[in-house]
């Protein structure tokens, strides 16, 4: 078993690491600094950290005010609250004015586990995606998390970055450089493509490698930038394979299944399947068990690939 990494811990550590390089960075949290790991930054840079209390709407609008004065605010909470409780503030006070605010949410979707449906945002990417001017990043491992935590400081404009609660294995080589707006091809040369996001990418690779052992080659494309999504790479792989399974720890409505389906139907109509959450609330439980209950598994990906392959 490979080593597991906590992406939120990587996020907190990276903030500390880049703080001196980017003196404009300030960090805001809504009473969840211990969980989102912004506490690591707070301990080292107390004068640049603001615990805004349990008041997310106030937090994101305050961040916009800070950004209007040249600060680069990183705003953290659970994905549920950072996108749901203050969606309209994010839309009207941040995105409409293109303020340079970085919303980095942790504890997305089922990875929350035991806290249950009230805390499991499985629609966060959908609600951020519909906001003009918003950019969305969903890292899939520690290397991509570390890279994009810094990268978004360099790119002006509002960002939403989604991180899980649970830990995950490394996918990329240590000093891998990514390009914002470009998806990463992890496996190539197959007849079916798997497009995956976040935690599902690690699971998709395992499914792909198992399939390969059985003589079935599949492509895996990691959707790191959800917005603006890399249409060229998606169309390229649809053309190569004509068949794809989209995997996301997210609602099928409005997630990358919806986004990729739109691209496919408008550019290169293809046979698509989805491994995602289908119009359901989450529930309490160990996150791995929940992934299994909701079908976010290696086996389910394999089943979908096989059905497409045999179609």
């Amino acid at each position: 078993m490979s080593e597991l990494y906590s992406l939120r811990k990587i996020y907190g550590e990276t903030l500390v690491k880049i703080a001196d390089k980017y003196p404009e960075i300030v960090v805001l949290d809504a009473d969840l600094a211990k969980s989102t790991k912004t506490q690591l930054f707070a301990q080292k840079y107390p004068n640049r950290f603001f615990d805004m209390g349990i008041a997310e709407a106030d937090m994101v609008a305050t961040a916009a005010g800070l950004a209007s004065c040249g600060k680069i605010p990183y705003v953290s909470s659970f994905a549920m609250f950072a996108t749901g409780k203050c969606w309209e503030q994010v839309r009207n006070t941040i995105a409409y004015s293109k303020f340079n605010v970085k919303i980095v949410a942790t504890h997305a979707c089922l990875s929350v586990g035991e806290d249950g449906a009230s805390h499991q945002a499985c629609e966060d990417v959908a609600v951020m995606n519909v906001i003009p001017n918003m950019n969305i990043i969903v890292p899939s491992d520690d290397v991509s998390t570390r890279f994009f935590t810094e990268e978004i400081a360099k790119i002006k404009g509002p960002f939403y970055m989604r991180l899980p609660r649970s830990e995950t294995e490394r996918i990329y080589s240590d000093n891998k450089k990514f390009v914002f707006g470009k998806e990463e091809v992890l496996r190539d040369g197959g007849n079916v493509t798997i497009f995956s996001m976040g935690l599902m990418t690690g699971i998709a690779i395992k499914a792909a490698d198992k399939l390969r052992k059985n003589g079935i080659k599949v492509n895996v494309v990691d959707i790191l930038t959800v917005k603006p999504i890399d249409k060229d790479t998606i169309i390229e792989f649809l053309k190569k394979s004509g068949k794809a399974v989209v995997c996301e720890e997210h609602e099928i409505n409005g997630g990358i299944t919806s986004i990729i389906s739109t691209i496919a139907s408008m550019n290169y109509p293809s046979k698509l399947r989805s491994v995602s959450i289908t119009d359901k609330f989450g529930q309490s439980g160990d996150w791995k068990e929940l992934f299994s209950i909701y079908g976010l598994t290696e086996d389910n990906i394999i089943k979908n690939v096989m059905e497409l392959e045999n179609d």
């Binding site: 709407a57 106030d58 004065c69 600060k71």
Partner: protein, 275 residues
């Protein structure tokens, strides 16, 4: 550009009231009531109190004005145009397609607008962020934020009120345009956000109460604000919705309605007497 004399300030405010009426008449849409209640205070701020430069709208040390009650945009646009932030002819395009003057203030479209507002309750949080930035950078600008009394029914106003006191934002001055009326009627009958003074005092703010149409009182309140240390200030400005136009005064119906030709003529006629 800047005016020191009280009579001149008053005349200026009445001239701007005419611009407000003309803009809303031209657009056949907009919010006269809350614009007319707010304009005297905004006139004092822009022509006497605030340090700002229309030629350099992004000057880092400028004082900021944030109109949280964004529907009073005609008042803000009238002031900004008169000051030279953009050509006065633009006022004719208020609320029209492809105009720089949106129905509610838009940061990216209009020079001099600090924050996109209109969805109520959010401007005060933004203002706190601007005030905190000044503290971090040790800049000495002040932040002025106008909120509505109806707007105070939004919970976020009180989140921001806690925030302002928590961070000892003595560079933040909030003006409450207390004209008693919201779209559906009297605020007391609808949500009852009163009492204001007691609430804000208990939230840790310095509180003043003034006649929001008395120029001496408005100026004095802003001078007092500058001397308050360690906490933010709230000025409760008792105002009259529709102030200056007889048939609009204290009428909730004039919250968001445009005058017809006859009403516009009468309004301008009444306002001209004070210019």
């Amino acid at each position: 550009m800047f005016i020191m004399n009280i009579d001149e300030l008053r005349r200026k405010a009445y001239q701007l009231r005419i611009d407000i009426i003309e803009m809303i008449y031209n657009a056949n849409s907009g919010h006269p009531g809350g614009s007319l209640s707010a304009i005297d205070i905004m006139t004092v701020l822009y022509y006497k109190i605030m340090k700002h430069s229309p030629k350099e709208p992004n000057m880092p040390d400028r004082d900021r004005f944030i109109l949280s009650k964004g529907h009073a945009s005609p008042a803000l646009y009238a002031v900004l145009a008169d000051m030279g932030y953009f050509p006065k002819e633009e006022l004719k395009n208020f609320r029209k397609a492809n105009s720089m003057l949106q129905g509610h203030p838009s940061y990216l479209k209009t020079p001099g607008v600090e924050d996109s507002t209109g969805s109520l309750g959010q401007g005060l949080s933004f203002a706190c962020g601007v005030a905190i930035a000044a503290k971090i950078d040790r800049r000495d600008y002040n932040v002025y934020c106008m909120i509505g009394d109806g707007e105070s029914e939004e919970g976020q106003i009180w989140e921001a009120a806690m925030n302002g006191a928590r961070h000892n934002l003595d560079n933040l001055c909030v003006i409450l345009d207390y004209n008693h009326l919201q779209i559906d009627g009297n605020i007391y009958d609808i949500k009852r956000p009163q009492p204001f003074a007691e609430k804000w005092l208990s939230f840790g703010w310095d509180v003043m109460e003034i006649d929001g149409h008395d120029f001496n009182e408005i100026i004095e309140a802003f001078e007092t604000f500058k001397s308050v240390k360690g906490k933010p200030s709230l000025i409760i400005a008792h105002t009259i919705k529709g102030k200056g136009v007889s048939f609009m005064e204290n009428q909730a119906d004039w919250h968001g309605k445009a005058p017809d030709k006859k009403q516009r003529d009468q309004a301008v006629e009444e306002l001209k007497r004070y210019v």
